[in-house]
Structures are given as C-alpha cells and as structure tokens.
Subunit: 191 residues, 4 copies
DNA sequence: AATGAATGAGTATTCATTCAT
DNA sequence: TATGAATGAATACTCATTCAT
C-alpha cells in the first residue's frame, strides 16, 4: 500500500476507534496522518471509503498474530487453546472498531468486500482443522471450511461477551476461555 | 409503557432500521409516531436515548417468538432445531437494527443495560438446557447458564454470517442451519 | 398589585438577573413563583411584558431606599453624600438587571414607559435641590428638574463605572465616591 | 484587521443594530458580508464573539470623530462644546448598539475587555483636561484621568437621556446640550 | 381561575467536500 | 501531487404560547 494511503488508514483506525465513525472528522484524520485536508481526497473518495482499507489492516494484524503465536507441531487441543488466546487478544484491542466496521460496511453497502477480506483468515483456520482431521484429532465428517467459519464466529462472540458484559476481571475471562474451549472441543472431537 | 412512548419507540425502530442511527432524523421519527417535534422530548431527552427502549422491544419480540414456537414436550434435538429457526428468523428481520443498537449502546455508554436487557432471554435458554440435562439429553457437566450464553452467541453469529455474507439462497441457508445444528449438538450431547 | 402578579414579577426579576432576559425561561419564572405554566399568561400576555412591572418594582426599591436613608434636616453637602451612598448601593445590587431592562424596554418599544416610571424618582431629587436652593446651598440659576436628571445620570454612571470596570476593592470605590462628590458639588454650588 | 474579518464585523454591527443581538441571525450577517455561512466560523468562534470586535470599531469611530472635529487651538470652553457635539452625534447614531454591547459583553463575561477598549478614548479626554489645566482654564486640583472618566459618563448619559426620553425635537436637544455644558463647566472651572 | 401536556417554528454550528493556487 | 481557505447543506433541540380539562 502507498505510504500515504497507509498513514491515512492507520490514522483513521485510531480516530474511528476513539470517536466512532460518524463523529470522527476528516480534519482529525489528516492531522494524525500529517497531511493536508485536500490530500485525503487524492487517496480516498470519501470518509467512509477508508473503512475497507481499515478492515484489511485489521485482518492483517489478526493473521500476523496467528503466524507469530501458532505452533504447527503441537497437538490440536493445544492449538485450539492458542487460537482462543489469539482471538481474545485481538478482540480485546479491536472490539469497538470491529463493531464499527461491521456497521460501517453495512451502511457503505460493501458487505461483500467484508467476506473477501475475511477469506484468508478463514482459510488459515480451515487448514488447521484439516491437519487435525488427518491426525484423527478432529471429526472427519466436518466440512473444514464451513466449520472454520462457525468456530471463528463462536470464539469471537465468546470474546466479545467476555469483554462486553462481564466485569472483566482476569478470573471471569479465564473462565470464559475454558468454557469456550470445552464447548468447541466437544463440537469438533472424534467420537 | 406509556402509549406515546411506545409509539415513538416503534417509529424510531423503523427509521433507525432504514437509515441507520446517525442518519435518522428526529423529524422523521415523530412523523412516523404521529406527534409533534417537541413532544418527542417530553418522553426522551435525546435521539440516542431511545436506543435502550428499542432494545427492550426487540428482546420482547425474540422472547415472544420463543414462547410461540417452542414446544416443551418434544425431545431436545427437536427443540434445538426450533431454536435455530427462531434465531434465524429474528436475525433475518432485525440484523441491521441489532448491529446498530450494539454500536449505539456503546457510543451511549449504556452497555451494562444491554446485558440486563438480554438476561431474561439467556435465562429462557438456560432452563431449556437444564430440562435436557435432567432427561439425559445434554451433558451434565455443562454449566447451564454459561453454556446458554455461548449457544446463543453461536446461533446468532451463524445466522448473521448466513444473512450477511452468503448469497442468501434458501439452499445455503438450510445448509448453514444444518451445520450449526451439528456443531451445537456435538458440543452439548452426552458422550 | 395582585399577589400572584407580584410573585411572578419578583420571580422574573431574579431569573432575569441570573440568566439575562433572552436566556430566562418562562418555565423557570413560574417555578420560582410557585404557579403553573399557563397561569403566567393570565397575568402577562408575554415574557417581555413583565419588564415594565419589574422596572416599577426597582424604582420602588430606589425610592424606599431614599426615604429610609435621606435626612431632610442636614445640610445639602451631607445630603449629596447620602444620595451617592444610595445610588451606589442600588447600582451594586441591580446593575445587571438595570442594563437588561434598558435594552429590554428598547426591544419592547416601551421607552416612554421607562421615563414615566423614573419620573417620581427625578421629582424626589428635584425637591431636594429646590430646598438647597432656598437655603442658598445650591446655585439659584439651575433649573431643578433638569439638573436633577443630569445629577442622577452622573451618579449612576459613576457607580456603574465603579462596579463595572474597576477591580472593586473598597478603596477604589471610596475614591470614586469622593471624585463624584467633588465633581457634583462643584457643578451645583453657588459661586 | 483582516479584510473578511472587518466585513463580518461591520455587517454584524448593522444587523445587531436592527434586530438586537439575540434576534440577529448569523445567516443575515454573512449575507451582509457577502460570504458563506461556514466562512464566518473561520474568523469568529461564535456569534457573540463578534461583539468585542464591534466595540473596537465603535471606539475607533468615536476617536476619529474627535480627531476630525476637535480643535486644539481654541479655549477650553469652546473645546467642551465641541466635545458635547461629538458625544451627542455618536450617541444619536449608535445608542442602541452601544447598549446592546454593554449587555452583550456582560453576558459574554468580557467586561474587562470593554474597559481596555475604552482606554484610548479616556486618555484623549484626559490630555484635553491637562492642557486646560496648564492654561488655568480648569481647576488644578482635579485628577485629569479620573475626571475625564466622569465627564465622559456625564456627557454620554445626558445624550442618552436626550435621545431616549425626550420627544427629540431640535429644541429640547439644544436645551440639554446647554444644560450639560453649564453643569460640566461649573464642575471643572477654577474658582 | 388554574393547570400542564402538547405544539412547532426557528437557528447556531459542524464538517465533508471542492478548487484555485 | 499537495495545499488549506472557502463553501453551504443539513439537523437536534428549545421554549414561548395554546387550549382542553
């Protein structure tokens, strides 16, 4: 991505996170990016059109977290725990912006883009499941890609519930992680 | 709820659904409610303060769908299918508004209210699970309330994915329902 | 004056003093008067129409201050000092509302009323001057009524300057009183 | 002053004069200034913040009237008459706006600015008095600056009374000028 | 006379976007 | 490419006044 385009995207990410999409001003975004007001419009046609670029950046972050922390050598039980840690970690940091993007893309009628952006992430989890199936750790009957989608949905929802509703002490968060681990493991395991 | 307050809430629900919260105008809301502009402010202090009232109405609708369609006499496998139908049905109708409320409550800093409003719905599913546990249809080790929360999250996420990403033909939706049924049933069943 | 009318007038005086005429609300005025919103309009046709009633009350206060403190037996030099004290005292308390009324009456196009309301006060000072002229303490050539008008204007302006501009320590106020006493005494005395 | 800022100030002066500060609309002000609505806010943060700029313009006008009409060569008796003419002239033109500013600055809590803005005008009159004192035309005991303040107050009040109360025929105005001339001359002259 | 719920006209201010430089 | 001054459309909220009770 062009250097300035990236600067704008990252600045917008911060401003959207702090103010929400509607209350964020282009003026603040360009201030954060260190460019002039008009320059913004050389790279994006409108304020809302930055949103898909932000979504890309966020999935990049999730995927790079995955590559940093995931270990292909360990058994699936452990891999699932690592995955849960990853999802909880990025949810904690990006929960608000994630919800904003979800709505923002909706109002922007670019939901199809949303799916395309998520695609590589789903694929990553799919291959994890396929490996586990080959090792007999995960039930063979499950369709890897579709199950990956459900699994990610489950983990993200659990993380959101954790950071959204609960009083957010370390204890309840650990409890939630264990709960969702048990739930998912049961759902996936060979009988 | 006061008659006028309810009229305002329902009108706001419709307008928010069509335009989104930020682009909705109080002027349209009152037109829909058949009252004068100033009257709105006798019942709500601001445009955003209608949001919790809408959330209540929506949970009411979900709960009444549940009471209409759920059958306490049938086995849990069938109850789960009914539950999936219910969640997919209200998600189809209220997905956008649901997401809007999520963000709206957030910007309104009333997220704790959100949990309180959801509470009776979680409790409803909990009792379903407890009955199934007594009948030996669901694994006894599971904590009913916490599992209910995860289960609802899973079903809602699946429904959202279905209506959000997919091309929304009847076939893929049926496939998604089957997938999530299998996934959840595995997660819950006694071994 | 009718009891309720007086209650409304006094409440309006307080609210106007605190908020200014434009920012004062009828709602606050009636709250202060302990009556209902609609009752206000049984006594006054509009918010601005209370202003002349307030002006009357204020001149009443000035005149009653005069009757309380003025001593007809003492020489004019001393009477002038007493008059200065009176004007400074009511200016300190009612400066803001006085200015508001001045503008308020203007926008209300009732300036002629303003003069009529002031009339008894001017007359009071006139008779003071006439007495002093008979006693040879004040120059005989001066037209008592017209001089009274100038004198009141001078004293009120001096008091306003004192409370408006200066840092309002007791010392500068005493200095101002002495200045205006000398100025006025020179202007009035027989040569 | 910036060209646009001056245009806005002068337009606001006119609109305030016609409608009063509260009833004046920014929309009218910008129409009069020949600029767009938003441009107003590039130069002033709010409608009320134009007031000090107007006050400056008005004192400028008073001072330039003074420089045009005052003659340093003539005796003080004549200078005082010229001064009275000046004060009556600008009071006639700017009485309403002057009162509005007085209240406007008050509600704006910028009364200290008001004094600072008036300062050069007071200084001008002071030097007039000092010259007259050197020529033995004005009593040496008087403190020039403090007396100047009282004198201006007296003249402005007299002019206001003249244009405010009286029926404003040329005769009563001339009478008022003569009255205030006698009053002031007595107050200032050497005995 | 008294009430107070309902009305709806009216306006300052913001900010995405443009365009002359 | 880059700038940033200028634009002007768009809207939540207030509050004096009314009127059915």
């Amino acid at each position: 991505m062009d250097d300035k385009k990236r600067k704008i995207t990252l600045s917008a990410l911060n401003v959207f996170k702090e103010k929400g999409i509607e209350k964020a001003t282009v003026s603040e975004i360009v201030k954060g990016a260190g460019i002039a007001q008009g320059t913004f419009y050389l790279y994006f046609p409108s304020k809302l059109s930055v949103i898909p670029a932000i979504a890309e950046v966020m999935i990049e972050k999730a995927i790079s977290l995955f590559h940093e922390q995931m270990d292909n050598q360990v058994p699936f039980t452990e891999q699932l725990q690592i995955l849960i840690e990853i999802v909880f970690e990025y949810t904690e940091n990006y929960r608000e912006i994630y919800a904003l993007l979800y709505v923002g893309l909706g109002s922007n009628q670019q939901l199809n883009e949303w799916e395309a952006i998520y695609e590589p992430y789903y694929e990553l989890i799919s291959s994890l499941l396929r490996n586990a199936q080959q090792n007999g750790e995960v039930c063979d009957n499950l369709h890897a890609k579709r199950t990956a989608t459900l699994l990610i949905g489950l983990l993200e929802t659990a993380a959101e519930q954790s950071y959204l509703y609960d009083e957010q002490n370390e204890e309840t968060i650990q409890l939630k992680k264990r709960d969702v681990y048990e739930f998912a493991m049961n759902a996936l395991k060979t009988n």
